[in-house]
Amino acid sequence: MRTEIRVGGLGGQGVILCGMIIGKAAAIHDGKHATLIQAFGPEARGSAASAQVTLADEPIGYPYVRRPDVLVVMSPDAYTTFVPTLKEGGLLLYESELVVPGNGLPAGAKAYGVPATRLAEELGRRLVMNIVMVGFFTATTKLVSYEAARKAVLDSVPRGTEELNLKAFEAGYSFGIKLLGEEGNRVA
């Protein structure tokens, strides 16, 4: 099985690191295959940043993401740019205090929002909003295991910042689990 993911946002939000941690979790700790491509092309101009991540059970021959199954956006521009590429029935994860999903969501797509910046600020550092997003991604997509994602966060962040980054991961993860629980209750 192959899953394509696009992470988009502004430079300085840690978009590439977010994509890298997801890839590391899958490839190093979950035993899958993963590729990461940082944005080259018109969407990389200005302050935009994006990462393309592909996860698969088999070796990946073509690493480019054209129609993502999962789109993670942290800025309105990233939403506008990338939402037309989201697959039908795909999943949109967005920073809910920066992005307002409007028209353009493809048929059958689901959208889950998380106030990642606010959660990071409540922990004391806005800088870790991308790690909140990794936690939220882990909880809502189940594409990487909780343990693998947690280890990948630990592997990827500078020494001395581990504990706060783990708190950020947990904050995003808990928010996602709670959101899914509420949705499950509504459906029931």
Partner: protein
């Protein structure tokens, strides 16, 4: 609001102590610890730690979330104490203040450094940017321990302290800028450079 958990540390002497957060059941043992401090050590402490009310105050501060208090324990006895204070309001909520006391028999064995290392780690997890400590000029051992862990002299207040014998002494303010660890993280998330795509 404070992180919990305990850890076992081996000191240079080969002895092991447990560092853990203070709990209410420690009141008696902590009081014994403070009362047992020799006068020459208590000389340089800001409070009269031999008063039972001092321990009650520490417990109340912990309960109110004003301080993270750590004790070092060996065989049921408290042999060291460290606290990290963080203002909840005001213009210095990014600055933590640390206090340390180590039993005389356990000094010069690395216990103070172990306690301090744990407090610095907690401070980092609480996103504090700076730590300060106040040491009386004559506390040379304490000064060295703080400096070994990155604290630097930032100010000296002349005759600021009157010790329990009435003698005035200089107070040294030491500071440790812990925000630099986040510079690496800032570089990692700065994904706007053309070379980073």
């Amino acid at each position: 609001m404070w992180p919990e958990g305990s850890s076992r540390v081996s000191l240079a002497s080969g002895q092991e102590v447990v560092l853990r957060p203070l709990v209410e059941a420690d009141a008696e043992a902590l009081h014994r610890f403070f009362v047992a401090l020799p006068e020459e050590d208590r000389l340089f402490l800001e409070d009269d730690v031999t008063q039972r009310a001092f321990v009650e105050r520490l417990l109340a501060e912990k309960q109110a979330g004003q301080a993270f208090t750590l004790v070092a324990e060996q065989r049921g006895e408290i042999v060291g104490y460290g606290a990290l204070y963080r203002p909840k309001y005001g213009w210095s909520t990014h600055v933590g203040r640390v206090r340390l006391v180590v039993a005389r028999a356990w000094q010069r064995r690395g216990l103070g450094s172990a306690l301090l290392r744990e407090l610095v780690r907690k401070a980092q997890s609480l996103a504090l940017d700076k730590l300060v400590a106040e040491v009386v000029e004559d506390q040379e051992g304490a000064l060295r321990a703080f400096q070994r862990l990155g604290f630097q002299k930032e100010a000296v207040l002349s005759d600021h302290v009157r010790d329990i014998t009435g003698k005035k002494r200089d107070l040294v303010i030491l500071a440790n800028d812990t925000s630099h660890i986040w510079e690496h993280m800032e570089a990692l998330v700065a994904d706007f450079e053309p070379s980073a795509g």
